[in-house]
C-alpha cells in the first residue's frame, strides 16, 4: 500500500531494473531504442562482440521454460562479453520448499550482477527486485500475464525501423489480449511513444475487463479493426486456450481472427505484420502472410538481440 515511487528507477530517475514498460518515461524508451540502433551495427560486424560488460555475471533465471527467449538474452549478454549462467529452475523443486526468494538470495551470494527473470506468475520480478541488494539489476523476461518489456521494446524498434514516426500511426493488436504479457507491454509502449490510435481485436472471452482504460479501442471484428492500420501485431494463442471455455476450436478462431492475405488487404497497402513467435501457422496467422512481403517477423528476432544488449548495458551502467 501507499507505494508511489516507481521501483524501476533509481533516485536519479535512471533505469535500475526493467520490470515493465508501464510508468517509464518516453525519454527512457527512446534511449533504449537509440542505443539498440548502435548495437545493430555491432551485430553486423566480423566480431559481433563488445567488451562492455566484461567480468559481469548475468544469471538467466527461468522459472518457466522458454528456450527461445533465454537464448536471445544469452546471445545478447555474450555479445557484451558478460559471463552468462543459465538456470532452469525446476518448478517441482520449487514446490518442495525453496521459495523464489531463497533461490535468488543464494544466487546473489554468488556475486551476481544481473538477473534475467522469467516466471509464470505476474509480479514475480517485482518481488525479486524488492528483495535484492541495490547493486543488482533485474530484467523481466516475461512474468505471467503481466509484462514482457524487452519484447515490447523490440516491437517498438521494429516499428520505428519501418515507419519512423510513431505519431502518425494506427496500430492493431490481434488475438488473446487477456492472457498476453506481450500485449500489455506493447500497449504501454505504443501509448507512451505517442501512437494516436491503438486498437485491440479479439473475442470477448480473450479481452480483459476495462482494457479501454489502457488507452485502446476495442474491436471484435477484424474487418473493422484492421481497416487502414499501419501495423498489425499478432499475438500467440497458447495451446491450452484453443479448446475449452475460451474458444471452441483453433479452426473457429482462425476463421474470425486468423490473419490471412484477404484480411491484411484491409490494412494500409504498406502495413507491416509482427508476431512475437513462436507462430501457430493456420491458427493466428496464415503462412502466406507470415512469409509474405509485409511480414517483419524475422527482423524482429535480429532486433531483439540489439534491444536486449541495449537494456543490459544501460542497466549495468546506471
Amino acid at each position: 500500500m501507499f507505494l508511489t515511487s516507481n521501483p524501476q528507477l533509481n533516485k536519479n530517475g535512471e533505469l535500475h531494473h526493467l520490470l515493465s514498460i508501464e510508468g517509464l518515461p518516453g525519454e527512457i524508451l527512446r534511449q533504449i531504442l537509440d542505443t539498440a540502433e548502435s548495437f545493430v551495427g555491432v551485430t553486423r560486424r566480423e566480431v559481433k562482440k563488445v567488451p562492455l560488460l566484461r567480468g559481469k555475471a548475468i544469471f538467466n533465471l527461468f522459472f518457466e521454460p522458454s528456450t527461445r527467449t533465454r537464448t536471445t538474452f544469452e546471445i545478447a549478454a555474450k555479445r557484451l562479453s558478460a559471463d552468462v549462467i543459465n538456470l532452469a529452475i525446476n518448478v517441482s523443486s520449487q514446490s518442495k520448499g525453496e521459495s523464489v526468494l531463497d533461490t535468488v538470495a543464494n544466487l546473489a551470494a554468488m556475486q551476481a550482477d544481473m538477473f534475467i527473470v522469467r516466471h509464470s506468475q505476474s509480479g514475480a520480478p517485482h518481488l525479486i527486485a524488492r528483495h535484492v541488494s541495490e547493486d543488482i539489476h533485474v530484467v523481466n523476461a516475461g512474468d505471467g500475464r503481466h509484462a514482457h518489456p524487452t519484447q515490447g521494446l523490440l516491437d517498438m524498434f521494429t516499428i520505428r525501423h519501418y515507419k519512423q514516426d510513431f505519431r502518425q500511426l494506427k496500430v492493431a493488436i490481434v488475438g488473446d489480449i487477456l492472457h498476453s504479457r506481450v500485449a500489455r507491454s506493447q500497449i504501454h509502449a505504443l501509448t507512451t511513444l505517442g501512437v494516436p490510435e491503438v486498437r485491440v481485436i479479439g473475442p470477448k472471452t480473450l479481452l480483459p475487463t476495462n482494457v479501454d482504460n489502457m488507452g485502446v479501442h476495442v474491436y471484435h471484428d477484424m474487418a473493422k479493426g484492421l481497416k487502414d492500420v499501419d501495423v498489425v501485431m499478432m499475438l500467440r494463442l497458447q495451446n491450452e486456450r484453443m479448446h475449452g471455455s475460451f474458444l471452441p476450436s483453433p479452426q473457429e478462431f482462425f476463421k474470425f481472427y486468423g490473419l490471412t492475405a484477404e484480411k491484411l488487404a484491409l490494412a494500409k497497402p504498406d502495413a507491416i505484420v509482427l508476431h512475437p513467435g513462436p507462430m501457430n501457422r493456420g491458427v493466428e496467422i496464415d503462412s502466406t502472410v507470415a512469409d509474405g512481403s509485409q511480414s517483419v517477423i524475422l527482423p524482429q528476432v535480429t532486433f531483439g538481440i540489439a534491444i536486449r544488449m541495449a537494456v543490459m548495458s544501460i542497466l549495468a551502467g546506471n
Binding site: M1, S99, Q121, S122, G123, H126, L127, D143, H146
Partner: protein
Amino acid sequence: MKIHIKNGRLIDPATGTDAKRDVYIAAGKIVALGNAPSGFTANRTIDASGLIVCPGLVDLAVRLREPGFEYMATLESEMQAAAAGGVTSLACPPDTDPPLDEPGLVEMLKFRARNLNQAHVYPVGALTVGLKGTHLTEMAELTDAGCVAFSHADAPLTDTQLLLRAMQYAATFDFAVWLRPQDAGLARGGVAHDGQVATRLGLAAIPVCAETIALSTILLLARETGARIHLCRVSSAEGVDMVRQAKARGLKVSCDVAIHHAHLSEMDIGYFDPNCNLTPPLRSQRDRDALRAALGDGTVDALCSDHTPVDEDAKQLPFGEAETGATGVELLLPLTLKWIEEAKLPLAQGLARITSGPARVLGVSAGRLQPGVGADLCIFDPARYWKVEPAALKSQGKNTPFTGVEIKGKVSYTLVDGQIVYESA
C-alpha cells in the same frame, strides 16, 4: 478486585450514551456508572482523563491458527494481540487444520483459550465435515461444545442442494449460519478484483458477480428455509445493495465487512503488494465507498478485522501465489476510528459496528456498559498517533498493508470480566 475508572469519557453505543462518567467494577462486573455505590473502595483506580471508555470490542473473525497452523501463529500470540487491540470477545472461523468439525476440537480450543484468561472466544463450527462441502456436521453436538454458529469459512461450497439442506437443518434448531458469498466457479483461479488493476497487472480476476450470484442464492434459500443467516465479508456495492433490499423485505439477515475493505481498494495493490492479496479481493473505489455508506446507514451490522496472520514464507511470494489475508486485530480500533472521522459520524454510532453490532450477531450480552453485565471494557486514547511497525505487533502475523502508516487511536487498557488483560506501556 475492585476497580474505579475515573474521569473518562464513557461511550456506550448500545444505549447511545456519550458522557463523562466514572465506572465502578467489582467481582468481574460493572456495579455502577457515574456515582460510586455506597461503601465502594477501589483496589485500583485508573485515571482515564482524556481517554474514552467503551465496551470491549467484539470481532467476528479472528483466526487464532490453532489447531494446525502453529507455524503461522499461536493461541498465545493472537490472544495477546486481541487484548492489545481492545478486543474482549471474538469469533474464530472453522478454517483450522483439522477444521472445527468435531466437538472435541471445539472443547479443546475453548479450554485452552479459557486458561489464557483473555478475550472470550466463540468458535464458529464447520458447516460440513472437513469443510469439504459434502456432509453436514453434527451441529447440535458442536453447539453443546460451544459453537455459536456454523460457517464454511472461505472454503468453496459448490453444491447448492447441500447448502439448502444445511440451512434447513440449521433452521430446525435455530442455529445461525454464517456464509461468505462467493460463487466458486466464477472465482476459480482469481486473485484480484476484475477491474482496471487486474487488467493492467495481468492478474487473474474475480468478478463482482461471483459475490452477487452467491448472495442471491443465499438470500433466496434464506427466504425458503427461514434460516438465521449472517453474511460475511461483503465486498461490493451491488452486494451491500442486495443486503439492504433483503433487510427491507424483512429477511433475517445480518452482514459484516472487513476493516481493510472499508479503507483500501484495488489501487492499493500498487506494484503487486502481497499484503493486499485478500479474500475477498479489494474491489474498486466505488465499491469501497458503497461499503462505507452501508456501514454508516446500518445495512452492515459489523466491522471485523478478518484477522489472518500469515508467515513470511507464505506471504513473500509472487502476488498470485501468496497466502491471502492480513493481520488486523490490533488495527481494528484505530482503523474504525479513521473511518468514523472520515465519515463524520458520531463516535457512538460508529463504534456500534465493533461493539453492540457484532455482539448482536453473536447473540451474546457483551458490547454494552450497564450495571450487572460483565466488565469487558476498552479504554483508549483517541488522539494518540502511532506508526504501524510490523515487528512491534503482538500478533505473530506481520502481514499488513498498513505497514509504516501513521494511525490515530491507541488502546490504553483492556479489561475482560473485570481483569486488566492489557495495559499499554
